[in-house]
Amino acid sequence: MRKNLVNENAAQRKTYVGFIFDEGENSRKKEILRKIPVEWASMHNEGRIHIHDLDAYGLTYNCLTFNILNKFPYDQYEGLDDFQKITGVFEFLKQLIAKVSNEQSGGMGFANFDRDIATILKDLDVELSDINQKLVYTSIYNLILWCTDSHERMGQVSYYVTLNIGLADNEYSRFVCRTVIEAFYNSPSRTVRPNIVFKVKSGINRYAKDPNYDLFEKSLLCSAKKMIPTYLLCDCELDKDYDPLNLSVMGCRTRVVDDVFGSTGSIGRGNIANISINLPRIAMDVINERKTVDLEKDVISFRIEWRKIARIVTEILLDRYEKTIKHPGKDYPTVSNYQLWIEDFEEDSQSYNVFRHGTLSIGFIGLSEAMELLSGHRYYQNDAVMAVALDFVKYMRSFVDECKRTYNLNFSLLATSGEQISGRFEELDLKAYPSLTIEKGYYTNSFHVNVDSGLTSFEKLSAEGPFHRYCNGGCISYVEIDGSPIGNSEALMELIEHGIKVGVHYLGFNFKLDICNGCGNSGIFDCCDKCGSCDITHIRRVSGYLEDTHYFTRGKKCEVRDRKRN
């Protein structure tokens, strides 16, 4: 018998408050599953689908990219000196993050952190003197450490904050951008937050002749050392026609761009809710029912079965949306006070006008296992199966677009990371189909190739790139590098160029990063090669965030065990 999950969430630390929170969360989850229609609840319980953030069902939305400039409280800095203004602005940001995290279930993002901070400081007449520059550096450095070290949220987890940077357009915002990168570069090796995303765009930073090329290079050197920043490739197929200022990554991968209510982009918008579908289970249902093996027929049955489930998922998302919009602005005091959404809340009436701009996402996990079950091949090893896989993802996207038209709401297709579910789905599938399940302790993230594929970095991106253009609710590809590529910005640039060419929207670089708690040395080791201490923190990226492996879920531990370099 396997032990139950020790940690449901990679960023988790337990405290008294955390314990009480978990008790409440669990009973709330049970209550929700009792209240919703039995068919929905059993699909969740059986692991056919996963309703994310179930405890927040009908209470709040998932995540938000702040419309920070909309109602920034400039008046509270009147009459203060530069020191008070700078420290005050960053103190305000920390409090904002902490307060908002009580009002929503997921992460918080800044679409253009460098430009926005520059605008705020300039509007407050803070000049870029040497002493002010030092103070801004220190404030950003402290914000980074706070994001890593505060495990205050829900009494146990750190805040999920994402800073998008790279499009700085004047000396001030270039300074802020450079400072974010330098502060993260200089922070201790154990620093794993916030998530920083560098937006790559031709004409701005992609090529040597572009004005922010120096910042791009600096960012790459930081990634080569610490895996952060990751890269939003604004010139890719999916994003190339949008203004890059409106593009950003929220949390680990959420993408919010099109809006049936007229706006474009992520600022002041977020995801309301998402539900992921277990693809391997559908494949096993098909295999279980079929009389003869015929890939073409099986793929049709697979689609039909998926569609049945996706229809129910749509109903659940709609129900959740309807319940969420019933809440008045006063239930979200901070977000409504600072008008962080694209439209303003009304204190006492429902929030339709606000939340209609949010996305409802249908996610998926284990495309690779599902294809292997149906065809006997891993999709990236067989051109015909690759075509089937791609066609299926395209089909999911067309279903989602159909929902968007039918209900006039922002449905999107999400390539789910599956932090909690990669192990949970497999475990439940083993109960349903003990002999069919591909047993390894986890399912592969979204459309990713298996972590032990052994494909080279170029091959991996070529295999995954074509899927990105369909996943308009968010997706990422990673390259697993053999050792930290210290100093090698040129190599990372090659991968970014290749990624853009093959359609990758969002790209991250992973490598093993072990830190000695005795002397601070870093490298790849179980015992320090300098001081001999075996008290080592192993930092790895799973589900979009860096974390200490000690706090991983079982599924993610198994995944990390199986990873092979690209």
């Binding site: 992609r206 090529y207 040597a208 080279t456 970095s457 170029f458 590098i481 053999d482 050792g483 930290s484 590529p485 210290i486 100093g487 090698n488 040129e490 190599a491 640039m493 090659e494 991968l495 160029e497 040395n521 870093s522 490298g523 090669d529 370099r565």
Partner: protein
């Protein structure tokens, strides 16, 4: 004929700038303590291949044309090494040698893009300096100006 151990086209991120294929030449008399590639020491090990054939193989497999020649000690087969470099016209080439900078013929510096010089010294091991294994080693950059646009 060049005696080599193997060519790795999977792409290394730590043996010079960019993603690089690695050619391991066979034979080294230096025998550094802590050497990663002991199987390349024996001067009669590995296999022989003509310079032309090897160059053709590299050209068809190393798509991004970035090659690091390491070993073994590549400079022990100096004439054939130069012949190979001449064949690989248009390649971005890096040499990893255990010889010191002043022991290497001037001619070689004009033919390649990067040279890592100096023997590995386990006592001076570093994991934070790019492209070198110990701090006594030196990574010499941009020996010939690349005419290609850096990122376009």
């Amino acid at each position: 004929m060049l005696r080599i151990h193997s060519v790795d086209y999977r792409g290394s991120f730590v043996d010079g700038p960019g993603i690089r294929s690695l050619l391991f030449t066979q034979g080294c008399n230096r025998h550094c303590i802590g050497c990663h590639n002991k199987s390349t020491w024996d001067p009669s090990g590995g296999y022989e291949i003509s310079v032309k054939e090897l160059a053709e193989e590299i050209k068809s497999n190393c798509v991004n044309r970035k090659l690091t020649i390491t070993g073994g000690e590549p400079l022990l087969q100096y004439d054939d090494l130069i012949a190979l470099i001449m064949e690989l016209n248009g390649f971005d080439i890096c040499i990893y040698t255990g010889f010191e900078e002043d022991e290497i013929p001037d001619h070689l510096f004009k033919l390649v893009d990067y040279i890592k010089v100096g023997p590995y010294n386990a006592d001076l091991r570093t994991t934070i300096e790019p492209y070198i294994g110990s701090t006594n080693q030196k990574f010499i950059r941009n020996l010939r100006k690349n005419e290609k646009e850096s990122c376009q």
